[in-house]
Amino acid sequence: MNFFESIVSIIQKHGTAFLEATTITISITAVSLVIATVIGLVFAFFKVSNIWILVKLADLYIFIVRGLPLIVLIMFLYYGISSVIVLSDFIAGAVALGIHSGAYLAEIFRGAIQSVDRGQNEAARSLGMTAPLTMSTIILPQAFKRAIPALGNQFIIGLKDSSLVAYIAVTELFSHALTASAENYMPFETYLVVGFYYLALVLIFTLLLNYVENRLDTGGVGKKLKK
């Protein structure tokens, strides 16, 4: 069997299973990113709050998560949490990935919030808006738009990192690759095929992101040209 025949046979034999596994990869990534966004926003607010205890709490969280290899975090949470409450593998994996990405998102959101001109806050507050109202209607929309390129980057990293939950028995794309290559003794060809699945996913995601970025480009060049 030559190289191309091997590739074809892998696709014939595992193609559908890979595709199904891809949906698990997508859903665990999506769930983890929702968790990460919530965590990221909360800790970003902590960091810009100027309240000592909250700032330190955020620093501690970011220090721990950034300092640990993701696989250690996944194992720790999987065995740690499952000794207290029983979580499905999927949920445990999504939570671990979410906690991990959350630390990076917190820094991205913090930077974006602080990059919004101070005058925006002053203008809103001087109209009588409360701090939370100012944050939600004036600061965050502008910060979010600026954060999109960095967010996209982090989301793509999150997508790829989801491969690590294969080690806690979540049957996503990479775990299927592990199983398949163990069966067919063709690891190189198998991972090559799986690699293309990941590339395709990232490509679709990137296009989606560009679309969102253009849509949100209010008041910028894009919008003006349309008018």
């Binding site: 925006q120 809103a124 507050r125 929309p141 209010t218 910028g220």
Partner: protein, 240 residues
């Protein structure tokens, strides 16, 4: 209407306002002039608590703004503030900029808020810009929209922090004209500016500040033609 007593403000070791005592009456237009670093902008920003005061009191209609227990958001609803850099919300259209505070804070219906916004835009001759984003406006237009945004909250007093300093010279006039109209309508105004023509023409009173003190206050005619203090004379000789 506003009574400032023994107001002091420090940034760390730097004392910017040393002892400010001043009263501003209803419908009065008070113009604050002085060299840069004299504390005039800081003084203005203390009046709506954008700066925390270090000591002293500020009474607005007998509400003590330096009292920690007051709801400052409520107080600010009655104080319009205009900034040098306009500070329009770039992600919102001109119309949205004007209606957001009346809708979210005064709880006006969209219809009512928009009606009011269009009235203001009409007065300013900017109705056709209602759906535009701030980035597409000139500096003079931005500042006039900023004034409309503040007026939409129906404030009792308007504070202007060098409203024309960031404008191209040919746009200064359009903003000053709006401010003149406002003064004519009886708005209480405190204006920090370098526009001496405006001070002379519109101001009821001119305050000269230097190094954190009010050096001199008088009617524009008095202050510009017969300044009493040496420092006022030096400053005026440099700029007039």
């Amino acid at each position: 209407m506003i009574k400032v007593s023994n107001l002091k403000k420090s940034f760390g070791d730097l004392e910017v306002l040393k002892d400010i005592n001043v009263e501003i009456n209803q419908k009065e237009v008070v113009v604050v002039i002085g060299p840069s670093g004299s504390g005039k902008s800081t003084f203005l920003r203390c009046l709506n608590k954008l700066e925390e005061t270090t000591s002293g009191t500020i009474l607005l209609d007998n509400i003590n703004l330096t009292d920690k227990k007051i709801n400052i958001n409520k107080v600010r609803q009655n104080i319009g503030m205009i900034f040098q850099q306009f500070n329009l919300f770039p992600h919102k259209t001109v119309l949205e900029n004007i209606i957001i505070a009346p809708m979210k804070i005064r709880k006006k219906s969209r219809q009512e808020a928009e009606g009011m916004a269009y009235n203001l835009l009409e007065k300013l001759g900017l109705v056709e810009k209602a759906e535009a984003y701030p980035d597409s406006l000139s500096g003079g237009q931005k500042q006039r929209i900023a004034i409309a945004r503040a007026l939409a909250m129906e404030p009792k007093v308007m504070l202007f922090d060098e409203p024309t300093s960031a404008l191209d010279p040919e746009m200064v006039g359009e903003v000053l004209n709006v401010m003149k109209e406002l003064a004519k309508d009886g708005m209480t105004m405190v204006v920090v500016t370098h526009e001496m023509g405006f001070a002379r023409e519109v101001g009821d009173r001119v305050i000269f500040m230097d190094e954190g003190y009010i050096i001199e206050e008088a009617s524009p005619t008095q202050l510009f033609s017969k300044p009493q203090h040496e420092r006022t004379k030096t400053f005026l000789s440099k700029i007039l």
